[in-house]
Protein backbone atom coordinates (compact mmCIF):
# COMPACT_ATOMS: atom_id res chain seq x y z
CA UNK A 1 0.00 0.00 0.00
CA UNK A 2 2.94 2.30 0.74
CA UNK A 3 3.68 2.93 -2.96
CA UNK A 4 0.28 4.59 -3.26
CA UNK A 5 1.17 7.36 -0.81
CA UNK A 6 2.64 9.83 -3.37
CA UNK A 7 -0.35 9.25 -5.64
CA UNK A 8 -2.77 9.95 -2.78
CA UNK A 9 -0.92 13.09 -1.87
CA UNK A 10 -1.06 14.27 -5.52
CA UNK A 11 -4.79 13.59 -5.67
CA UNK A 12 -5.26 15.44 -2.43
CA UNK A 13 -3.31 18.46 -3.68
CA UNK A 14 -5.40 18.49 -6.84
CA UNK A 15 -8.60 18.52 -4.86
CA UNK A 16 -7.25 21.17 -2.50
CA UNK A 17 -6.74 23.37 -5.52
CA UNK A 18 -10.19 22.53 -6.86
CA UNK A 19 -11.95 23.29 -3.57
CA UNK A 20 -10.05 26.56 -3.09
CA UNK A 21 -10.99 27.56 -6.65
CA UNK A 22 -14.63 26.62 -5.99
CA UNK A 23 -14.75 28.88 -2.94
CA UNK A 24 -12.89 31.65 -4.73
CA UNK A 25 -15.17 31.50 -7.77
CA UNK A 26 -18.23 31.37 -5.57
CA UNK A 27 -17.02 34.52 -3.92
CA UNK A 28 -16.41 36.13 -7.33
CA UNK A 29 -19.87 35.11 -8.56
CA UNK A 30 -21.44 36.80 -5.56
CA UNK A 31 -19.55 40.00 -6.27
CA UNK A 32 -20.68 39.85 -9.91
CA UNK A 33 -24.24 39.35 -8.72
CA UNK A 34 -24.11 42.37 -6.41
CA UNK A 35 -22.51 44.56 -9.07
CA UNK A 36 -25.00 43.55 -11.74
CA UNK A 37 -28.09 43.74 -9.62
CA UNK A 38 -27.47 46.88 -7.62
CA UNK A 39 -25.03 48.91 -9.61
CA UNK A 40 -25.93 48.05 -13.19
CA UNK A 41 -29.55 47.30 -12.28
CA UNK A 42 -29.40 44.17 -14.42
CA UNK A 43 -30.30 41.08 -12.39
CA UNK A 44 -28.54 37.88 -13.40
CA UNK A 45 -29.86 34.48 -12.44
CA UNK A 46 -26.95 32.23 -13.21
CA UNK A 47 -24.79 33.53 -10.35
CA UNK A 48 -27.22 32.24 -7.72
CA UNK A 49 -27.25 28.88 -9.41
CA UNK A 50 -23.49 28.82 -9.78
CA UNK A 51 -22.83 29.58 -6.10
CA UNK A 52 -25.29 26.88 -5.07
CA UNK A 53 -23.43 24.37 -7.24
CA UNK A 54 -20.04 25.52 -5.94
CA UNK A 55 -21.27 25.27 -2.35
CA UNK A 56 -22.65 21.76 -2.84
CA UNK A 57 -19.52 20.48 -4.56
CA UNK A 58 -17.24 22.33 -2.17
CA UNK A 59 -18.78 20.64 0.85
CA UNK A 60 -19.01 17.13 -0.57
CA UNK A 61 -15.66 17.03 -2.37
CA UNK A 62 -14.06 19.06 0.41
CA UNK A 63 -15.16 16.53 3.01
CA UNK A 64 -14.13 13.65 0.79
CA UNK A 65 -10.63 14.84 -0.10
CA UNK A 66 -9.54 17.95 1.75
CA UNK A 67 -10.84 17.88 5.32
CA UNK A 68 -8.25 16.30 7.59
CA UNK A 69 -9.25 13.84 10.26
CA UNK A 70 -8.56 16.35 13.00
CA UNK A 71 -10.89 18.92 11.35
CA UNK A 72 -13.94 16.68 11.56
CA UNK A 73 -16.55 17.84 14.06
CA UNK A 74 -16.97 15.08 16.62
CA UNK A 75 -18.00 14.58 20.18
CA UNK A 76 -14.65 13.39 21.48
CA UNK A 77 -15.16 14.10 25.17
CA UNK A 78 -16.51 10.61 25.82
CA UNK A 79 -14.17 8.87 23.39
CA UNK A 80 -11.07 10.52 24.83
CA UNK A 81 -11.97 9.42 28.34
CA UNK A 82 -10.96 5.85 27.43
CA UNK A 83 -7.56 4.28 27.22
CA UNK A 84 -5.89 3.56 23.92
CA UNK A 85 -6.92 -0.10 23.85
CA UNK A 86 -10.57 0.71 24.39
CA UNK A 87 -10.43 3.48 21.79
CA UNK A 88 -9.04 1.06 19.24
CA UNK A 89 -11.97 -1.26 19.88
CA UNK A 90 -14.43 1.62 19.58
CA UNK A 91 -12.92 2.75 16.28
CA UNK A 92 -13.05 -0.78 14.85
CA UNK A 93 -16.70 -1.33 15.78
CA UNK A 94 -18.06 2.09 14.80
CA UNK A 95 -15.90 2.29 11.66
CA UNK A 96 -17.23 -1.02 10.37
CA UNK A 97 -20.81 0.07 11.11
CA UNK A 98 -20.41 3.39 9.25
CA UNK A 99 -18.67 1.76 6.28
CA UNK A 100 -21.34 -0.97 6.17
CA UNK A 101 -24.27 1.45 6.20
CA UNK A 102 -22.87 3.72 3.49
CA UNK A 103 -21.82 0.74 1.38
CA UNK A 104 -25.31 -0.71 1.67
CA UNK A 105 -26.85 2.61 0.58
CA UNK A 106 -24.37 3.22 -2.26
CA UNK A 107 -26.16 1.36 -5.12
CA UNK A 108 -29.44 3.17 -4.42
CA UNK A 109 -27.61 6.49 -4.15
CA UNK A 110 -26.04 5.84 -7.52
CA UNK A 111 -29.45 5.01 -8.98
CA UNK A 112 -30.89 8.25 -7.60
CA UNK A 113 -28.08 10.40 -8.97
CA UNK A 114 -28.28 8.91 -12.46
CA UNK A 115 -32.09 9.13 -12.40
CA UNK A 116 -31.81 12.90 -11.82
CA UNK A 117 -30.35 13.24 -15.33
CA UNK A 118 -33.88 13.92 -16.56
CA UNK A 119 -33.96 17.33 -14.85
CA UNK A 120 -32.00 20.46 -15.64
CA UNK A 121 -31.37 23.65 -13.69
CA UNK A 122 -33.32 26.78 -14.62
CA UNK A 123 -30.56 29.13 -15.79
CA UNK A 124 -27.45 27.21 -16.68
CA UNK A 125 -29.35 24.16 -17.95
CA UNK A 126 -27.00 21.95 -16.03
CA UNK A 127 -28.15 18.35 -15.71
CA UNK A 128 -28.94 17.41 -12.14
CA UNK A 129 -27.13 14.07 -12.40
CA UNK A 130 -23.89 15.97 -13.03
CA UNK A 131 -24.70 18.44 -10.29
CA UNK A 132 -25.47 15.71 -7.76
CA UNK A 133 -22.63 13.42 -8.89
CA UNK A 134 -20.37 14.83 -6.17
CA UNK A 135 -22.38 12.78 -3.67
CA UNK A 136 -20.92 9.52 -4.95
CA UNK A 137 -17.23 10.30 -4.25
CA UNK A 138 -18.40 11.67 -0.91
CA UNK A 139 -20.02 8.35 0.02
CA UNK A 140 -17.03 6.39 -1.19
CA UNK A 141 -14.70 8.63 0.79
CA UNK A 142 -16.78 8.12 3.95
CA UNK A 143 -16.46 4.35 3.47
CA UNK A 144 -12.74 4.44 2.68
CA UNK A 145 -11.93 6.78 5.56
CA UNK A 146 -13.88 4.67 8.04
CA UNK A 147 -12.14 1.48 6.86
CA UNK A 148 -8.76 3.22 6.89
CA UNK A 149 -9.29 4.06 10.55
CA UNK A 150 -10.31 0.46 11.24
CA UNK A 151 -7.16 -0.78 9.55
CA UNK A 152 -5.06 1.64 11.58
CA UNK A 153 -6.70 0.49 14.80
CA UNK A 154 -6.23 -3.17 13.89
CA UNK A 155 -2.53 -2.65 13.20
CA UNK A 156 -2.19 -0.55 16.33
CA UNK A 157 -0.83 2.46 14.49
CA UNK A 158 -1.01 5.90 16.16
CA UNK A 159 -4.39 7.61 16.07
CA UNK A 160 -4.97 10.52 13.81
CA UNK A 161 -8.51 11.53 14.61
CA UNK A 162 -8.16 14.51 16.84
CA UNK A 163 -7.67 12.52 20.02
CA UNK A 164 -4.08 13.70 20.22
CA UNK A 165 -4.12 16.88 18.22
CA UNK A 166 -6.13 19.95 18.64
CA UNK A 167 -6.29 22.25 15.71
CA UNK A 168 -8.49 25.23 16.58
CA UNK A 169 -7.76 27.02 13.31
CA UNK A 170 -9.83 24.53 11.42
CA UNK A 171 -12.66 23.86 13.85
CA UNK A 172 -16.18 24.34 12.64
CA UNK A 173 -16.12 28.11 12.95
CA UNK A 174 -19.29 28.64 14.88
Amino acid sequence: MQFLAPLFSRIRQGFELLVAVLLGSMFAAFIIQVVFRYILNWPVGWTIEYVAVAWLWGILLGYAFVVRDEDVVRFDLFYNAFGQRARRGMTIVSGIVVAGIFLWALPKDFEFVTFMGVEKTAFMHMRFDILFAAYIPFVIAVIVRALWEVRRALRNEPENNGAQHFNPESESHV
Partner: protein, 443 residues
Amino acid sequence: MAPNISIRKAKAMFDAFSVSLALIVFLTLFGQSIGVAMIAGTIVYLGIKGQDTSIAAETVLQGLYSGYTLLAVPLFILAADIMNVGSIADRLMKFSHALVGRFKGGLGHVNIVASIIFSGMSGSAVADAVGIGRVEIQMMTKGGHIPKSYAGALTAASATIGPIIPPSIPMVLYALVSDASVGYLFAAGILPGLLMASMLFAVNTWVSHRRNFPIDNSVPLSELPKVTVEAFPALMLPVILLGGIYGGVMTPTEAAAVAAFYALLVSVMLYRSVNLKQFFHTLLSSARSTASVGILIAGAIAFNYVITRENIPNVIAEYLAQFDFSPLGFLLIVNVLFLILGCFIEAGAILLIFVPILIPTVNALGIDLVHFGVVVVVNAMLGLITPPYGLLIFIVANITKEPLKAIVSDLMPFIGGLLIALAILTVWPDFVLFVPRLFGYQG
Protein backbone atom coordinates in the same frame (compact mmCIF):
# COMPACT_ATOMS: atom_id res chain seq x y z
CA MET B 1 -49.45 -17.08 14.80
CA ALA B 2 -46.74 -17.08 17.42
CA PRO B 3 -43.84 -15.89 15.23
CA ASN B 4 -45.99 -13.06 13.93
CA ILE B 5 -46.62 -11.74 17.39
CA SER B 6 -42.97 -11.89 18.28
CA ILE B 7 -42.07 -10.06 15.08
CA ARG B 8 -44.59 -7.38 15.91
CA LYS B 9 -43.19 -7.14 19.40
CA ALA B 10 -39.71 -6.87 18.05
CA LYS B 11 -40.84 -4.20 15.66
CA ALA B 12 -42.45 -2.22 18.46
CA MET B 13 -39.31 -2.51 20.53
CA PHE B 14 -37.04 -1.61 17.70
CA ASP B 15 -39.11 0.99 15.96
CA ALA B 16 -37.23 2.80 13.25
CA PHE B 17 -36.87 6.07 15.08
CA SER B 18 -35.43 4.63 18.29
CA VAL B 19 -32.99 2.49 16.35
CA SER B 20 -31.74 5.39 14.26
CA LEU B 21 -31.43 7.64 17.30
CA ALA B 22 -29.56 4.96 19.25
CA LEU B 23 -27.28 4.40 16.26
CA ILE B 24 -26.46 8.11 16.02
CA VAL B 25 -25.69 8.31 19.75
CA PHE B 26 -23.57 5.17 19.54
CA LEU B 27 -21.55 6.32 16.53
CA THR B 28 -21.06 9.80 17.97
CA LEU B 29 -19.88 8.51 21.33
CA PHE B 30 -17.55 6.07 19.61
CA GLY B 31 -15.72 8.89 17.91
CA GLN B 32 -17.29 9.11 14.45
CA SER B 33 -18.10 12.45 12.79
CA ILE B 34 -21.44 13.84 14.03
CA GLY B 35 -22.58 14.76 10.52
CA VAL B 36 -21.76 11.34 9.08
CA ALA B 37 -23.44 9.63 12.06
CA MET B 38 -26.67 11.53 11.41
CA ILE B 39 -26.69 10.60 7.72
CA ALA B 40 -26.05 6.96 8.69
CA GLY B 41 -28.93 7.11 11.20
CA THR B 42 -31.24 8.46 8.49
CA ILE B 43 -30.27 5.69 6.06
CA VAL B 44 -31.00 3.03 8.67
CA TYR B 45 -34.34 4.66 9.55
CA LEU B 46 -35.37 4.57 5.89
CA GLY B 47 -34.22 0.96 5.60
CA ILE B 48 -36.29 -0.20 8.58
CA LYS B 49 -39.30 1.72 7.31
CA GLY B 50 -38.95 -0.12 4.00
CA GLN B 51 -38.46 3.17 2.16
CA ASP B 52 -35.89 3.92 -0.52
CA THR B 53 -32.61 4.59 1.32
CA SER B 54 -31.57 7.10 -1.33
CA ILE B 55 -34.08 9.53 0.19
CA ALA B 56 -31.23 10.39 2.58
CA ALA B 57 -29.04 11.38 -0.36
CA GLU B 58 -31.89 13.27 -2.01
CA THR B 59 -32.71 15.19 1.19
CA VAL B 60 -29.08 16.19 1.74
CA LEU B 61 -28.52 17.22 -1.89
CA GLN B 62 -31.75 19.18 -2.30
CA GLY B 63 -31.38 20.75 1.14
CA LEU B 64 -27.84 21.97 0.51
CA TYR B 65 -28.60 23.04 -3.05
CA SER B 66 -31.62 25.13 -2.13
CA GLY B 67 -30.29 26.53 1.14
CA TYR B 68 -29.48 29.95 -0.23
CA THR B 69 -29.08 31.62 3.18
CA LEU B 70 -26.49 29.01 4.11
CA LEU B 71 -24.16 30.43 1.50
CA ALA B 72 -23.44 33.23 3.95
CA VAL B 73 -21.56 30.72 6.10
CA PRO B 74 -18.53 30.12 3.83
CA LEU B 75 -18.41 33.80 2.92
CA PHE B 76 -18.36 34.97 6.53
CA ILE B 77 -15.67 32.38 7.27
CA LEU B 78 -13.67 33.70 4.32
CA ALA B 79 -14.12 37.36 5.38
CA ALA B 80 -12.88 36.60 8.89
CA ASP B 81 -9.94 34.58 7.58
CA ILE B 82 -8.90 37.39 5.25
CA MET B 83 -9.06 39.93 8.08
CA ASN B 84 -6.99 37.66 10.27
CA VAL B 85 -4.28 37.23 7.65
CA GLY B 86 -4.10 40.94 6.88
CA SER B 87 -3.09 43.63 9.33
CA ILE B 88 -6.67 44.70 10.03
CA ALA B 89 -6.60 43.15 13.50
CA ASP B 90 -3.41 45.03 14.46
CA ARG B 91 -4.80 48.36 13.38
CA LEU B 92 -8.03 47.83 15.26
CA MET B 93 -6.01 46.97 18.33
CA LYS B 94 -4.01 50.22 18.15
CA PHE B 95 -7.21 52.17 17.72
CA SER B 96 -8.88 50.51 20.72
CA HIS B 97 -5.75 51.05 22.75
CA ALA B 98 -5.77 54.79 22.08
CA LEU B 99 -9.48 54.87 22.91
CA VAL B 100 -9.72 53.09 26.29
CA GLY B 101 -6.16 52.15 27.29
CA ARG B 102 -5.93 54.98 29.83
CA PHE B 103 -8.44 53.56 32.33
CA LYS B 104 -8.02 51.15 35.24
CA GLY B 105 -7.99 47.66 33.78
CA GLY B 106 -7.18 49.46 30.53
CA LEU B 107 -5.67 46.59 28.59
CA GLY B 108 -8.68 44.44 29.41
CA HIS B 109 -10.97 47.20 28.17
CA VAL B 110 -8.90 47.44 24.99
CA ASN B 111 -9.44 43.73 24.51
CA ILE B 112 -13.23 44.11 24.86
CA VAL B 113 -13.47 47.16 22.57
CA ALA B 114 -11.40 45.44 19.88
CA SER B 115 -13.67 42.40 20.12
CA ILE B 116 -16.80 44.54 19.78
CA ILE B 117 -15.48 46.20 16.64
CA PHE B 118 -14.21 42.93 15.21
CA SER B 119 -17.52 41.24 15.93
CA GLY B 120 -19.17 43.79 13.66
CA MET B 121 -17.15 42.25 10.83
CA SER B 122 -16.93 38.60 11.70
CA GLY B 123 -19.67 36.13 12.41
CA SER B 124 -17.68 33.50 14.21
CA ALA B 125 -16.45 33.35 17.81
CA VAL B 126 -13.74 30.88 16.80
CA ALA B 127 -12.44 33.25 14.13
CA ASP B 128 -12.42 36.08 16.67
CA ALA B 129 -10.44 34.07 19.19
CA VAL B 130 -7.81 32.75 16.78
CA GLY B 131 -7.53 36.05 14.91
CA ILE B 132 -7.84 39.20 16.91
CA GLY B 133 -7.76 37.11 20.09
CA ARG B 134 -4.14 36.18 19.48
CA VAL B 135 -3.24 39.88 19.07
CA GLU B 136 -5.27 40.78 22.17
CA ILE B 137 -3.44 38.25 24.31
CA GLN B 138 -0.03 39.44 23.09
CA MET B 139 -0.96 43.05 23.81
CA MET B 140 -2.27 42.32 27.31
CA THR B 141 0.65 40.20 28.48
CA LYS B 142 3.49 42.19 26.87
CA GLY B 143 4.14 44.27 30.02
CA GLY B 144 4.25 41.16 32.17
CA HIS B 145 1.86 42.60 34.77
CA ILE B 146 -1.25 40.75 33.72
CA PRO B 147 -1.30 36.96 34.06
CA LYS B 148 -1.54 35.10 30.77
CA SER B 149 -4.42 33.03 32.07
CA TYR B 150 -6.43 36.19 32.75
CA ALA B 151 -5.67 37.58 29.28
CA GLY B 152 -6.75 34.25 27.79
CA ALA B 153 -9.92 34.11 29.86
CA LEU B 154 -10.98 37.62 28.90
CA THR B 155 -10.21 36.92 25.24
CA ALA B 156 -12.38 33.81 25.28
CA ALA B 157 -15.19 35.70 27.03
CA SER B 158 -15.04 38.66 24.64
CA ALA B 159 -14.99 36.35 21.60
CA THR B 160 -18.48 35.14 22.53
CA ILE B 161 -19.79 38.58 21.55
CA GLY B 162 -18.63 37.99 17.95
CA PRO B 163 -21.68 36.06 16.74
CA ILE B 164 -24.14 38.11 18.81
CA ILE B 165 -23.34 41.45 17.20
CA PRO B 166 -24.06 40.98 13.48
CA PRO B 167 -22.99 39.36 11.24
CA SER B 168 -23.36 35.92 12.77
CA ILE B 169 -22.91 32.39 11.48
CA PRO B 170 -24.86 30.78 14.37
CA MET B 171 -27.80 33.07 13.61
CA VAL B 172 -27.75 31.96 9.99
CA LEU B 173 -27.93 28.35 11.24
CA TYR B 174 -30.79 29.29 13.58
CA ALA B 175 -32.62 31.01 10.71
CA LEU B 176 -32.27 27.80 8.70
CA VAL B 177 -34.02 25.66 11.32
CA SER B 178 -36.59 28.21 12.53
CA ASP B 179 -37.53 30.13 9.36
CA ALA B 180 -36.96 33.41 11.21
CA SER B 181 -35.56 36.26 9.13
CA VAL B 182 -31.76 36.56 9.12
CA GLY B 183 -31.96 40.33 8.79
CA TYR B 184 -34.14 40.78 11.88
CA LEU B 185 -32.08 38.23 13.82
CA PHE B 186 -28.93 40.19 13.04
CA ALA B 187 -30.59 43.45 14.14
CA ALA B 188 -31.79 41.79 17.33
CA GLY B 189 -28.22 40.90 18.27
CA ILE B 190 -26.91 44.47 18.47
CA LEU B 191 -28.20 45.52 21.93
CA PRO B 192 -27.64 42.10 23.54
CA GLY B 193 -24.05 42.11 22.24
CA LEU B 194 -23.44 45.53 23.77
CA LEU B 195 -25.07 44.41 27.02
CA MET B 196 -22.73 41.41 27.18
CA ALA B 197 -19.79 43.74 26.51
CA SER B 198 -20.82 46.07 29.34
CA MET B 199 -20.98 43.09 31.69
CA LEU B 200 -17.42 42.21 30.68
CA PHE B 201 -16.30 45.83 31.23
CA ALA B 202 -17.81 45.74 34.72
CA VAL B 203 -16.20 42.41 35.63
CA ASN B 204 -12.83 43.51 34.21
CA THR B 205 -12.89 46.76 36.21
CA TRP B 206 -13.78 44.87 39.36
CA VAL B 207 -11.09 42.21 38.89
CA SER B 208 -8.45 44.81 37.94
CA HIS B 209 -9.09 46.72 41.16
CA ARG B 210 -9.17 43.60 43.28
CA ARG B 211 -6.00 42.11 41.83
CA ASN B 212 -4.47 45.56 41.44
CA PHE B 213 -3.43 45.35 37.80
CA PRO B 214 -1.29 48.42 36.93
CA ILE B 215 -2.54 51.14 34.61
CA ASP B 216 -0.84 50.86 31.25
CA ASN B 217 1.29 53.57 29.62
CA SER B 218 -1.53 54.87 27.54
CA VAL B 219 -1.34 56.35 24.08
CA PRO B 220 -1.65 60.16 24.41
CA LEU B 221 -4.99 61.55 23.24
CA SER B 222 -3.16 63.61 20.64
CA GLU B 223 -2.35 60.41 18.77
CA LEU B 224 -5.96 59.33 18.58
CA PRO B 225 -6.64 61.06 15.24
CA LYS B 226 -3.63 59.36 13.64
CA VAL B 227 -4.52 55.82 14.71
CA THR B 228 -8.15 56.47 13.81
CA VAL B 229 -7.17 57.44 10.28
CA GLU B 230 -5.03 54.32 10.01
CA ALA B 231 -7.83 52.09 11.22
CA PHE B 232 -10.56 53.99 9.35
CA PRO B 233 -10.87 51.72 6.29
CA ALA B 234 -11.20 48.72 8.60
CA LEU B 235 -13.67 50.56 10.82
CA MET B 236 -15.87 51.22 7.78
CA LEU B 237 -16.51 47.52 7.26
CA PRO B 238 -19.27 47.14 9.88
CA VAL B 239 -20.87 50.31 8.53
CA ILE B 240 -20.90 48.94 4.98
CA LEU B 241 -22.20 45.58 6.14
CA LEU B 242 -25.02 46.82 8.31
CA GLY B 243 -25.82 49.75 6.06
CA GLY B 244 -26.07 47.37 3.12
CA ILE B 245 -28.37 44.96 4.90
CA TYR B 246 -30.64 47.45 6.64
CA GLY B 247 -30.67 49.99 3.86
CA GLY B 248 -32.45 47.16 2.04
CA VAL B 249 -29.64 47.15 -0.53
CA MET B 250 -28.29 43.66 0.01
CA THR B 251 -29.36 40.33 1.41
CA PRO B 252 -27.27 39.16 4.38
CA THR B 253 -25.67 36.57 2.09
CA GLU B 254 -24.62 39.19 -0.44
CA ALA B 255 -23.42 41.40 2.40
CA ALA B 256 -21.17 38.54 3.49
CA ALA B 257 -19.60 38.45 0.03
CA VAL B 258 -19.18 42.21 0.00
CA ALA B 259 -17.57 42.06 3.45
CA ALA B 260 -15.06 39.49 2.28
CA PHE B 261 -14.38 41.51 -0.85
CA TYR B 262 -13.91 44.73 1.10
CA ALA B 263 -11.60 43.04 3.61
CA LEU B 264 -9.55 41.70 0.72
CA LEU B 265 -9.46 45.07 -0.99
CA VAL B 266 -8.38 46.91 2.16
CA SER B 267 -5.77 44.28 3.03
CA VAL B 268 -4.28 44.13 -0.45
CA MET B 269 -4.58 47.69 -1.72
CA LEU B 270 -4.35 49.88 1.36
CA TYR B 271 -2.48 47.87 3.93
CA ARG B 272 -0.52 45.75 1.42
CA SER B 273 -0.56 42.89 3.87
CA VAL B 274 -1.92 39.96 1.85
CA ASN B 275 -0.21 38.36 -1.14
CA LEU B 276 -1.50 35.85 -3.64
CA LYS B 277 -0.01 32.83 -1.89
CA GLN B 278 -1.53 33.86 1.41
CA PHE B 279 -4.85 34.40 -0.33
CA PHE B 280 -4.76 30.88 -1.72
CA HIS B 281 -4.01 29.46 1.72
CA THR B 282 -6.80 31.53 3.19
CA LEU B 283 -9.20 30.16 0.57
CA LEU B 284 -8.06 26.63 1.32
CA SER B 285 -8.38 26.91 5.08
CA SER B 286 -11.78 28.60 4.70
CA ALA B 287 -12.87 25.81 2.35
CA ARG B 288 -11.75 23.26 4.93
CA SER B 289 -13.75 24.89 7.72
CA THR B 290 -16.70 25.24 5.35
CA ALA B 291 -16.64 21.55 4.47
CA SER B 292 -16.44 20.42 8.08
CA VAL B 293 -19.33 22.63 9.20
CA GLY B 294 -21.10 21.78 5.91
CA ILE B 295 -21.17 18.07 6.71
CA LEU B 296 -22.64 18.87 10.11
CA ILE B 297 -25.35 20.87 8.32
CA ALA B 298 -25.86 18.02 5.83
CA GLY B 299 -26.31 15.54 8.68
CA ALA B 300 -28.80 17.84 10.39
CA ILE B 301 -30.74 18.26 7.13
CA ALA B 302 -30.87 14.48 6.66
CA PHE B 303 -31.95 13.69 10.19
CA ASN B 304 -34.46 16.52 10.09
CA TYR B 305 -36.33 14.40 7.52
CA VAL B 306 -36.66 11.65 10.13
CA ILE B 307 -37.72 14.12 12.82
CA THR B 308 -40.37 15.61 10.55
CA ARG B 309 -41.65 12.19 9.42
CA GLU B 310 -41.99 11.09 13.02
CA ASN B 311 -43.64 14.39 13.90
CA ILE B 312 -41.28 14.66 16.87
CA PRO B 313 -41.51 18.45 17.40
CA ASN B 314 -45.30 18.29 17.72
CA VAL B 315 -45.14 15.27 20.01
CA ILE B 316 -42.79 17.24 22.24
CA ALA B 317 -44.99 20.34 22.00
CA GLU B 318 -48.01 18.28 23.12
CA TYR B 319 -46.02 16.65 25.88
CA LEU B 320 -44.78 19.99 27.16
CA ALA B 321 -48.27 21.52 26.86
CA GLN B 322 -49.54 19.36 29.71
CA PHE B 323 -47.15 21.09 32.11
CA ASP B 324 -48.75 24.40 31.29
CA PHE B 325 -45.49 26.34 31.20
CA SER B 326 -45.61 30.09 30.99
CA PRO B 327 -43.47 31.44 28.11
CA LEU B 328 -40.97 32.71 30.66
CA GLY B 329 -40.88 29.41 32.53
CA PHE B 330 -40.24 27.62 29.26
CA LEU B 331 -37.43 30.01 28.32
CA LEU B 332 -35.78 29.52 31.70
CA ILE B 333 -35.94 25.74 31.30
CA VAL B 334 -34.48 26.06 27.80
CA ASN B 335 -31.66 28.19 29.23
CA VAL B 336 -30.77 25.61 31.85
CA LEU B 337 -31.04 22.78 29.34
CA PHE B 338 -28.87 24.51 26.72
CA LEU B 339 -26.29 25.65 29.24
CA ILE B 340 -25.88 22.04 30.34
CA LEU B 341 -25.81 20.77 26.74
CA GLY B 342 -23.31 23.50 25.89
CA CYS B 343 -20.88 22.12 28.44
CA PHE B 344 -20.62 18.94 26.37
CA ILE B 345 -21.77 19.53 22.81
CA GLU B 346 -20.51 21.76 20.02
CA ALA B 347 -22.49 24.99 19.47
CA GLY B 348 -23.36 24.28 15.84
CA ALA B 349 -24.69 20.85 16.73
CA ILE B 350 -26.90 22.34 19.47
CA LEU B 351 -28.41 24.86 17.08
CA LEU B 352 -28.95 22.39 14.25
CA ILE B 353 -30.16 19.39 16.25
CA PHE B 354 -31.92 20.54 19.40
CA VAL B 355 -33.42 23.87 18.39
CA PRO B 356 -35.68 22.58 15.57
CA ILE B 357 -37.29 20.14 18.01
CA LEU B 358 -38.40 23.03 20.21
CA ILE B 359 -39.67 25.44 17.54
CA PRO B 360 -43.34 24.24 17.54
CA THR B 361 -43.46 24.64 21.32
CA VAL B 362 -42.00 28.13 20.98
CA ASN B 363 -44.74 28.97 18.49
CA ALA B 364 -47.46 27.41 20.62
CA LEU B 365 -46.41 29.48 23.63
CA GLY B 366 -46.40 32.65 21.57
CA ILE B 367 -42.70 33.30 22.14
CA ASP B 368 -41.18 35.53 19.49
CA LEU B 369 -38.92 33.51 17.17
CA VAL B 370 -36.35 36.29 16.88
CA HIS B 371 -36.20 36.73 20.65
CA PHE B 372 -35.88 32.98 21.08
CA GLY B 373 -33.12 32.94 18.47
CA VAL B 374 -31.04 35.49 20.35
CA VAL B 375 -31.54 33.62 23.63
CA VAL B 376 -30.43 30.28 22.19
CA VAL B 377 -27.48 31.75 20.30
CA VAL B 378 -26.24 33.49 23.48
CA ASN B 379 -26.65 30.13 25.23
CA ALA B 380 -24.68 28.38 22.53
CA MET B 381 -21.92 30.99 22.84
CA LEU B 382 -21.76 30.50 26.61
CA GLY B 383 -21.37 26.82 25.81
CA LEU B 384 -18.11 27.75 24.06
CA ILE B 385 -16.59 28.97 27.33
CA THR B 386 -18.06 26.50 29.82
CA PRO B 387 -15.89 23.54 30.81
CA PRO B 388 -15.29 20.70 30.22
CA TYR B 389 -15.98 21.08 26.50
CA GLY B 390 -15.52 24.74 25.64
CA LEU B 391 -13.95 25.32 22.27
CA LEU B 392 -12.80 28.86 23.09
CA ILE B 393 -11.09 27.68 26.27
CA PHE B 394 -9.07 25.19 24.23
CA ILE B 395 -8.17 27.88 21.72
CA VAL B 396 -6.90 30.43 24.25
CA ALA B 397 -5.11 27.67 26.18
CA ASN B 398 -3.41 26.79 22.93
CA ILE B 399 -2.37 30.42 22.32
CA THR B 400 -1.24 31.21 25.88
CA LYS B 401 0.19 27.75 26.67
CA GLU B 402 -1.44 28.14 30.09
CA PRO B 403 -3.09 25.17 31.84
CA LEU B 404 -6.83 24.87 31.27
CA LYS B 405 -7.45 24.99 34.99
CA ALA B 406 -5.94 28.47 35.41
CA ILE B 407 -7.91 29.83 32.47
CA VAL B 408 -11.15 28.30 33.65
CA SER B 409 -10.76 29.77 37.12
CA ASP B 410 -10.10 33.24 35.64
CA LEU B 411 -13.09 32.77 33.35
CA MET B 412 -15.59 32.20 36.15
CA PRO B 413 -16.34 35.88 36.96
CA PHE B 414 -16.84 36.58 33.25
CA ILE B 415 -19.18 33.62 32.87
CA GLY B 416 -21.09 35.05 35.84
CA GLY B 417 -21.36 38.44 34.14
CA LEU B 418 -22.52 36.90 30.87
CA LEU B 419 -25.12 34.81 32.71
CA ILE B 420 -26.58 38.02 34.16
CA ALA B 421 -26.73 39.41 30.62
CA LEU B 422 -28.46 36.21 29.46
CA ALA B 423 -31.00 36.48 32.29
CA ILE B 424 -31.82 40.07 31.30
CA LEU B 425 -32.22 39.08 27.63
CA THR B 426 -34.46 36.19 28.56
CA VAL B 427 -36.92 38.13 30.68
CA TRP B 428 -36.92 41.29 28.57
CA PRO B 429 -37.95 40.57 24.96
CA ASP B 430 -38.67 44.25 24.29
CA PHE B 431 -35.00 45.03 24.81
CA VAL B 432 -33.94 42.39 22.30
CA LEU B 433 -36.60 43.36 19.78
CA PHE B 434 -36.07 47.13 20.07
CA VAL B 435 -33.70 47.45 17.10
CA PRO B 436 -35.55 44.99 14.79
CA ARG B 437 -38.75 46.97 15.43
CA LEU B 438 -37.00 50.15 14.32
CA PHE B 439 -36.50 48.35 11.02
CA GLY B 440 -40.16 47.43 10.78
CA TYR B 441 -40.24 44.06 12.55
CA GLN B 442 -43.84 43.28 13.47
CA GLY B 443 -43.12 40.85 16.34
